[in-house]
C-alpha cells in the first residue's frame, strides 16, 4: 500500500471514530430533505429533483467548509504534522490523501440522499439522465469546495478562521452567479466583464450541468478549480508546516 492510500485510509476512518461524522450526516440529511419540501416539492406536481439540487450549493458551502476546516489546521495545532512529514511521504501524497478522504466522506452523505430518488421514482417517471448529471454536478462542486477548504485549513492553525475564510470564498464563488449580483455589476461594468464574472461563478457551471448536459467546459471548470486549489495547498503547506 502506498503512502497516499495509508493517509486516505487513516483519515477516512478518523471521521467515524468520533460522533462528528454522524452529527454531520444527520444535519445534512435533515436539511437537504427539509429544504426540498419547503421549496414546494409536492406543490410543483413534477417528478423531478430540481428542488432538491437547487439547495445543494449553499448547503455544501457550509458542509464542505466544516468538513475541511480540521484537515490541516488541527494537524498543525497539535503538532502531528511533524510526525506525518517525518514519515516517508511527500506533501502531495498527504494533501491528496486527506482531500480524497474528505471527498469520499461527503460523497457518502450525498449517496445517503437516495430516498429522495426513490420518492421521485415512486411518484412519477422522472428523467434519469438529469438526476444522474445532478448528482455528478453536486459531487464535482463538493470536490471544489473541499479543495478550497483544504487550502484555507493549511493557511492557519485556527479552525474557526479556516472555516470562516473557506465558507466566504466558496460563498463568493456561488453568489457571484446570482442574477441579483450580475444585474448589479452590469450597472457599472462593461458587458464583457460581467460575462467573465458569470463564467467564473460556480453557480453558472453547476446549473448548466443540472440541465442534464455535461460539457467539456463545465467539467474542466471544476477540474481546474480542484487542481489549482490543491496545488496552492501543497505550496502553502510546504512553506508553513513547521511554523
Amino acid at each position: 500500500m502506498n503512502s497516499f492510500l495509508a493517509v486516505f485510509k487513516r483519515e477516512l476512518k478518523s471521521y467515524f471514530t468520533t460522533p462528528l461524522a454522524y452529527v454531520f450526516l444527520f444535519i445534512f440529511l435533515v436539511l437537504s430533505g427539509f429544504l426540498t419540501f419547503q421549496k414546494g416539492f409536492y406543490e410543483a406536481r413534477q417528478a423531478d429533483m430540481t428542488r432538491f439540487f437547487m439547495n445543494m450549493p449553499l448547503l455544501f458551502v457550509g458542509m464542505a467548509s466544516a468538513t475541511s476546516m480540521r484537515l490541516w489546521a488541527e494537524e498543525r495545532k497539535v503538532g502531528s504534522v511533524e510526525l506525518l512529514f517525518t514519515l516517508p511521504i511527500t506533501i502531495r501524497e498527504a494533501v491528496l490523501g486527506k482531500l480524497c478522504a474528505a471527498w469520499v466522506f461527503l460523497s457518502i452523505a450525498l449517496a445517503l440522499t437516495f430516498p429522495m430518488v426513490i420518492t421521485v421514482f415512486y411518484l412519477g417517471s422522472p428523467d434519469v439522465g438529469v438526476i444522474v448529471t445532478g448528482y455528478i454536478g453536486t459531487w464535482l462542486m463538493v470536490g471544489a469546495f473541499l479543495a478550497i477548504g483544504c487550502f484555507f485549513s493549511a493557511l492557519t492553525k485556527n479552525q474557526v478562521i479556516s472555516v470562516v475564510l473557506s465558507s466566504v470564498a466558496c460563498g463568493i464563488l456561488v453568489l457571484l452567479g446570482m442574477p441579483t449580483t450580475l444585474n448589479y455589476l452590469a450597472g457599472f461594468l462593461p458587458m464583457g466583464l460581467v460575462n467573465a464574472v458569470e463564467m467564473m461563478s460556480m453557480r453558472t457551471h453547476f446549473e448548466s450541468i443540472q440541465r442534464g448536459v455535461l460539457t467539456f467546459g463545465d467539467l474542466s471548470y471544476f477540474a481546474i478549480l480542484i487542481a489549482g486549489w490543491t496545488a496552492a495547498c501543497v505550496v502553502v503547506l510546504d512553506e508553513r508546516k513547521a511554523s
Binding site: R10, G79, L87, A242
Partner: protein, 240 residues
C-alpha cells in the same frame, strides 16, 4: 552515516542554527546538549527533513536531505520533542498506520509489532485510544513508532522526557543495546544520561557548536563534573 555540512536556518531575525557541521558514524551515540533555544530541535528537524535549511546540507545513509527527503526519512527513526501522534486512534491502529506508510506488511508487520510492542512496554495499552494515555505512555508509543521499521539512524529529541525513573532506565538500556548496530543522535537536558549512554557529545549554543568531545574527555580535561563543564561553557550564551 550522517554528514552535516554547514547547516544554517533562521526564523525571521533569529538564527536558530548557524553553520553547524559534524559527522556521526555507526556505533556512535551522539548527545546534543545546549541551553533552551540553542538550536538542537531545529537541527534535528532539518536532519529529519521536516524543515529545510536556508544554507548547507546533510546526508543521511548517503541520501541528501534536500534532494532525496523521502529516502532519508525511510532510514531514520525520528521522535519529535512532544512525541506527536493521532490522539483519536488506538495504539494498535496508530502503529498500523505507521506500518502502512512505511510499507511494512504481512509477516514483516507481525514481526515488527512483536518486536517493538514488548520493547517499549505498551502491551497493556495496545487497544486504548492514545488520548487516554499518560504522558509517559504517549512517549513510549512515539518510541515504538520510531523503531518499528528498524532504522539505521535514530534521531530522538529528548526521548526520556516525561518518563518515570524505571522507564528512563529502560530507554537508556534500549539505546545502549542498539548502539552498536545503529547511529544514534539524542538531545537531552539530563547530563547523567549523557554520561551513561553517549559515546560523544556536542554542546551547542546560539546555533553554533561550542564543544565536540566525549563526556569522559570533557570531565578529565576540566577536572569537574559534566554539570559544571556545561555551566562553564554555556554561561554567557543564553538568549535574553
Amino acid at each position: 552515516m550522517i554528514e552535516v555540512k554547514d547547516l544554517r536556518r533562521s526564523f525571521g531575525p533569529v538564527t536558530a542554527v548557524d553553520g553547524i557541521s559534524f559527522n556521526v558514524e555507526k556505533g556512535q551515540v551522539l548527545g546534543l546538549l545546549g541551553p533552551n533555544g540553542a538550536g538542537k530541535t531545529t537541527a534535528m528537524r532539518m536532519l529529519a527533513c521536516f524543515i529545510r535549511p536556508d544554507k548547507g546540507t546533510a546526508t543521511v545513509c548517503g541520501h541528501d536531505i534536500l534532494k532525496d527527503p523521502v529516502r532519508v526519512r525511510q532510514s531514520i527513526g525520528y521522535l519529535a520533542e512532544s512525541a506527536p501522534s493521532y490522539s483519536e486512534m488506538t495504539v494498535g491502529s496508530f502503529l498500523g498506520f505507521i506500518c502502512d506508510v512505511r510499507k511494512i506488511k504481512g509477516a514483516a508487520r507481525k514481526r515488527a509489532l512483536d518486536r517493538v510492542v514488548p520493547t517499549c512496554s505498551i502491551e497493556s495499552v495496545y487497544h486504548q485510544t492514545i488520548e487516554t494515555l499518560s504522558k509517559g505512555y504517549k512517549r513510549r508509543v512515539g518510541l515504538a513508532q520510531a523503531l518499528i521499521h528498524d532504522p539505521a539512524v535514530l534521531i530522538w529529541d529528548e526521548p526520556t522526557d516525561g518518563l518515570d525513573p524505571n522507564q528512563k532506565h529502560e530507554v537508556r538500556r534500549l539505546i545502549t543495546a542498539m548502539s552498536e548496530e545503529k547511529c544514534i543522535i539524542i538531545s537531552t537536558h539530563i547530563l547523567e544520561e549523557v554520561e551513561a549512554i553517549c559515546t560523544r557529545c556536542i554542546i551547542v549554543a546560539r546555533g553554533k557548536i561550542l564543544v565536540d568531545s566525549t563526556p569522559q574527555k570533557l570531565k578529565d580535561e576540566n577536572k569537574c563534573s559534566l554539570d559544571e563543564v556545561f555551566r562553564r561553557i554555556t554561561k554567557h550564551t543564553g538568549r535574553s
